[in-house]
Symmetry: C2
Subunit: 192 residues, 2 copies
């Protein structure tokens, strides 16, 4: 399982509370591994018991208390061991693609709203990545550090996927209009 390791990486990058991790998982790292706060708290507890991380309570004079976790040497070496293990390729999962195959037996135009929504969401994501890219990896005088190069490379895959999605959505919208142009005929064999 990888949520453990994803959290270790996030904590190496910056010691944080569960709440902060949950928010970060909606952003950069979250593009390749999503997690809710409920899951995160459970895994943090497990890893603390295993000695991979340590917590320190930061009393908030004015704000709520925060339990800030940091990676221990044991956690660090567990991570180092993990990266050498072979990892299987991750299978994509798309409900929308199943719906497209289903639509072959129904009216493809029914998918146009869903398609437009996907197109919009992927567009929003891409814009967010592009903004982050400009802020963190471009416009600097000095060349990027090896660390930054690697992080940027991961981000580039995210960007490439979003671009792939967007191009596909546009192409598909055109296709549907081409193969099912008439805005009548509610289909599914009323002829029987």
């Amino acid at each position: 399982m990888s949520l453990d390791h994803a959290l270790l990486v996030s904590l190496l990058e910056k010691p944080s509370s569960g709440y902060e991790l949950a928010r970060r998982f909606d952003k950069s790292i979250g593009h390749f591994w999503h997690a809710t706060h409920q899951q995160i708290y459970k895994v943090l507890a497990r890893m603390e018991e295993a000695g991979w991380i340590e917590s320190e309570v930061h009393r908030g004079e004015t704000a709520p208390d925060r339990k800030v976790f940091a990676v221990t040497p044991a956690g660090r070496s567990a991570l180092a061991e993990w990266i050498t293990e072979p990892s299987p390729i991750d299978r994509a999962r798309s409900e929308l693609m199943i719906k497209f195959r289903a639509a072959a037996f129904d009216d493809p135009r029914k998918l146009l709203p869903a398609l437009a929504e996907h197109r919009a969401e992927h567009g929003t994501l891409l814009a967010a990545y592009r903004a982050n890219e400009a802020k963190e990896f471009s416009g600097h005088d000095r060349p990027l550090s090896p660390q930054q190069e690697l992080q940027y490379q991961v981000m580039k895959l995210g960007i490439a996927f979003e671009e792939t999605w967007i191009a596909w959505c546009d192409e598909t919208q055109a296709l549907i209009h081409r193969i099912a142009p008439t805005p009548s005929a509610t289909a599914t064999k009323e002829t029987s």
Copy 2:
């Protein structure tokens, strides 16, 4: 949940036994929704009880008996209803990307073997898709039917993703060689 609906689509395309479905889920439709035979048998049982599918046992004179399932009108309308429901975008999940962020704290060269494996597997997948593409969607005299166009469009997304992966793998391999060229220095701070 979508495995139910993915199976319905598969059964609409061709009535099949659980075993056949399991094999098909390692191929075309499986690229966007994976499932093992154990899962499939359970879902088939559930859907039969719900009246979405019906089974007929084909006694094999020589081969083992096969329980062949077909979609009922109830199942068909359940599917028609489902495609109009909104579907959230599916989050990608990649262990390898987590490892890349982890490698920023270790030696990136450790990822070269995993990278090569991924590159090879995505290459194999792409070749399989290309072969299928040529067989089913190209080289025909008549233009494709709307059904085929939709199936082809789904496949095109799969192909695009594989190409994205492959390009990224190649680029990344070059990057690692550039930022960590020396085949010594086992890293992780032996200086303390």
